[in-house]
Symmetry: none
Subunit: 132 residues, 2 copies
DNA sequence: CTTGGTTGTGACAATCATTATCAATAAGCT
DNA sequence: AGCTTATTGATAATGATTGTCACAACCAAG
């Protein structure tokens, strides 16, 4: 049976309150900072449950941490500056559809996809061009 | 000054010879298996240099490892089985065009992109469903 | 209310990828 | 060949994540 504990609620609320992505570690720190004596392992478990039940999405940050977000606002991808790290969120409905179509064509199921565009943002482009 | 060592060459060649993405750990294992006594740290360093100089691309796999690929001329994308590692090459002209368009819309230049779809191939899907 | 069974928790150990350290080695110049 | 210094590689350190397990919290029934 699935039980409702204040810890799980705390994680869900903290995730809902967060705009965008947050790492498990940061979430744990944030909860601690606001007084919850919740354990780190519990945060990981709660996040795992949330993603398993589809209430949260999980992906890997460029820094190699797993980052999570409440799965309400629809899912998007990222445009990342190779130089300064600036990240712009981009919608990718076409790519979304495409990914599922190709996966299906090859008999794949449970398709997840990694769609990220790396480049140089306007500012860094200027800065680097000046260097040459 | 930049020196040329056989280790660096070995890493570059191993990466070129690899079709698709490979993790640093796997690359190290592969090199060891084919007789190179190259050190793990050196593989990481070489991969870091290659990505810094634009000869390789790096992204995070869903399993949390950093995976690399040679950033060569002809490029295609991959459909990768999370379970058995089967890799299918896929063409992605639409995505290609899309990536450049969004990058441009946000002022980004020198856009590279990472588009890969992870899932379960037909066989593994069946195997895992039988488990439940 | 109490008992019993079960699930969730949390401190800590274990694991895994990656990075830092540092003495020994070898590349490239003269 | 000899010198200078970047590079290597064994290993330790780090940091995120997962596993373990005794204990506490929860629910239902008596």
């Amino acid at each position: 049976m699935k039980r409702n504990t204040w810890q799980r609620e705390a994680v869900r609320e903290a995730l809902d309150a967060t705009d965008g992505f947050i790492s498990a570690q940061s979430l744990h720190s944030a909860l601690h900072a606001s007084g919850s004596p919740i354990g780190l392992a519990t945060v990981y478990r709660a996040l795992g449950d949330l993603t398993a039940s589809g209430d949260a999405d999980c992906l890997q940050s460029p820094e190699g941490e797993a980052i999570y977000r409440a799965c309400s606002t629809g899912h998007h991808h990222h445009l990342i500056c190779r130089n300064c790290g600036l990240t712009v969120e981009i919608a990718a409905d076409e790519v979304e559809a495409w990914a599922h179509r190709v996966a299906g064509e090859h008999g794949f199921t449970r398709a997840a996809h990694v769609v990220d565009v790396f480049g140089l943002c306007a500012e860094c482009s200027r800065a680097l061009d000046a260097d040459r």
